[in-house]
């Protein structure tokens, strides 16, 4: 038996594959153009139950089962049919479960196994059709009924979908899990199928359906608003055509001006630049430098030509005096040049009885030497006299410096 069944199935699927073009054409167009295909092929497909002729005059069409298969696999949003016949499926489940239990009771295990297979198939079919229905509904919502163009058609589609949702919800009420669980009794497999699997898909479907319903209502509201707006605009134009001299009342003159017409005037004008603001100086500079064209006002020459008295007086002279220590250092250098003999700084210090601090004096001499420019420096040599530190190497105490000519 099963061998025959498998062969027949293979034949059908092969036929589907061989004539896929014809079938897809029929799916898209709704019917087959018989003239384009050989009579033999068509007859074969009719025999296999792929095509059928609803009545003698009408063209061949796809069988519903094939169409449903294509719609389901292609996720085509044209499919709007929703299988809401849950009550019938539940009844068949109940019957199959009874069969299964009876054959177990009589120890006819082969039979029981077959019934179990059937039952499993039915349960999964039911859950699949539930999820499929919800998916179809969601698909339609997601593209906002994009397959019809006018708002009116969208509203009609929305109403159809709402009807389907409420149908589905009504059908879902026919799930009585207490009855099902009683039916399953203590049989583990039956419980798994009838209680666990069904309940899961039931709760999921119920939850999603409530979301679908809310979204549908939302959309319907929006469509109605669109419709209302279009009517409002068209009505307004129509009215203006019929009564071109129509002017609305002067609402701002009412004692209570409606918020819609109470719109305050613009108040803010750009602020002016404050040139005394030091922080902004850089920004102003940038702005000015970016100007491509400065419109300078021509100075009003006449107004500035008031007579002025000119005072001629001698300018006070400013004399720059050197610090005495600098003077002394310069003198010391001159002295060395004049005498041509090297001389220690402290000797010069003692000779001229200078009254600076000795250390400051030595520093100043060294500084004076260093500050000469390269050419002048070459004429002089500066030697430092002193001794290294007793404890730490690398430290050298300078007691005196000797300046000489090279």
């Amino acid at each position: 038996m099963s061998q025959v069944l498998i062969q027949a199935g293979n034949r059908l699927l092969n036929a589907l594959g061989r004539h896929s073009e014809l079938i897809m054409q029929a799916y898209v167009n709704g019917s087959v153009k018989e003239a384009d295909h050989s009579r033999k092929v068509l007859e074969q497909l009719v025999q296999l139950g792929v095509l059928w002729r609803p009545d003698p005059q009408s063209p061949l069409r796809l069988k519903n089962a094939v169409r449903a298969l294509l719609e389901g696999s292609l996720q085509d949003d044209r499919s709007r049919t929703i299988n809401t016949n849950i009550t019938a499926s539940l009844a068949s489940l109940r019957t199959l479960a009874e069969h299964y239990k009876e054959s177990l009771h009589h120890n006819r295990f082969n039979e029981a196994h077959a019934h179990m297979g059937d039952l499993t198939e039915h349960v999964y079919q039911l859950t699949e059709s539930l999820t499929n229905s919800v998916r179809v509904l969601f698909g339609r919502i997601n593209n906002e009924f994009g397959y019809v163009s006018s708002v009116e058609a969208k509203i009609r589609e929305n109403e159809l979908a709402q009807g389907q949702v409420s149908d589905l919800l009504q059908q879902l009420e026919s799930f009585h899990f207490d009855e099902l669980s009683e039916l399953a009794g203590s049989n583990r497999e039956l419980r798994h199928l009838l209680v666990v699997a069904l309940q899961q898909s039931f709760s999921k479907a119920a939850q999603e359906l409530s979301v679908v319903q809310a979204r549908l209502l939302d959309l319907l509201g929006r469509f109605r608003e669109f419709q209302g707006r279009t009517r409002l605009l068209k009505g307004f134009l129509l009215h203006m055509e019929q009564q071109p001299d129509f002017t609305p009342g002067n609402y701002p003159a009412l004692s209570q001006v409606p918020v819609l017409f109470n719109q305050s005037a613009s108040l803010l004008a750009p602020a002016a630049a404050d040139v005394n603001q030091v922080e902004h100086e850089a920004d102003y500079q940038m702005i000015v430098s970016n100007l491509t064209d400065i419109h300078r006002r021509k100075p009003d020459e006449e107004s500035h030509k008031a007579a002025q008295e000119i005072e001629v007086a001698e300018q006070g002279s400013v004399s720059l005096e050197k610090d005495p220590i600098h003077q002394a250092v310069d003198d010391y250098f001159c002295d060395v040049i004049d005498s041509g003999q090297p001389k220690s700084a402290l000797e010069y210090f003692a000779e001229h009885a200078l009254d600076f601090d000795q250390e400051v004096w030595i520093y100043q001499v060294i500084g004076g030497y260093q500050s000469l420019d390269e050419n002048d420096k070459q004429f002089f040599a500066l030697d430092a006299a002193g001794q290294p530190d007793k404890t730490f190497t690398g430290n050298f105490y300078i007691n005196d410096v000797t300046l000489g000519l090279r």
Partner: protein, 211 residues
């Protein structure tokens, strides 16, 4: 640097409409009741108050109390609005009809100038309608060709705040909340003057279908 509060305050004081499209951050700021309460004293000093229309989708500054001067401003403004209603409504309907979906123009819609232009060019009735619209005083187009007319109309609408152009390089415009304000105004006029505009439109459609 100005704080967010200061930025929004100055937007409002300069007479702009703040909506989700034109200034999302500002709109969110104003949506919060606390923030709005913070702004209110500043506005009140200048005899203004925060107002909203279109179910809180659009914010703007309204006068707090109305003296003679304020009424004068409002009357002037209203006369301008009333005279520009017909051109604006005609434009809205033209865009709606020329767009594929036949959906009314609402806040957040993106209008692609090129697509619109090609549809209008292909349909002589729309082209005539556009020419008529562009000649109205508020659009004030003198252009003889369709391209210039359409650009001028969109430019004027952008100036008036009904549209914004997020990317200056692309000819894509977004519809702002001010359009919602326009709808509200027409609705208000409809109700106050009891024009029953929707019924008129319906009746016209039915008569059309009979003919």
């Amino acid at each position: 640097m100005m704080s967010e509060q200061g930025r929004i305050l100055s937007l409002l004081l300069s007479g702009q409409f703040v909506c989700q499209v034109s200034d999302e951050e500002g709109w969110r700021f104003l949506k919060s009741r606390d923030n709005a309460a913070k702004l209110e004293p500043h506005l009140n000093v200048l005899n203004r108050t925060l107002a909203s229309t279109a179910e809180g989708d659009v914010f703007f500054a309204a006068y707090l109390t109305l003296g003679d001067d304020e009424r004068k401003v409002l009357t002037l403004q209203f006369q301008e609005t009333a005279s520009s209603l017909v051109p604006l409504v005609e434009w809205l309907l033209l865009v709606q009809q020329a767009s594929e979906s036949d959906m009314p123009v609402t806040m957040g819609n993106a209008l692609r100038l090129n697509e619109l232009q090609s549809v209008i060019e292909d349909t002589p009735a729309y082209a005539e309608q556009l020419e008529k619209i562009s000649r109205y005083r508020i659009f004030n187009s003198t252009s003889m060709n369709l391209d210039g007319q359409l650009k001028q109309v969109f430019k004027r609408l952008t100036d008036m705040g009904y549209l914004i152009k997020p990317n200056s390089e692309k000819q894509i415009y977004l519809v702002t909340g001010k359009v919602e304000h326009l709808y509200e105004m027409i609705k208000f006029i409809d109700e106050t003057e009891s024009l029953s505009l929707s019924a008129q439109a319906e009746a016209a459609v039915q008569q059309g279908s009979l003919l």
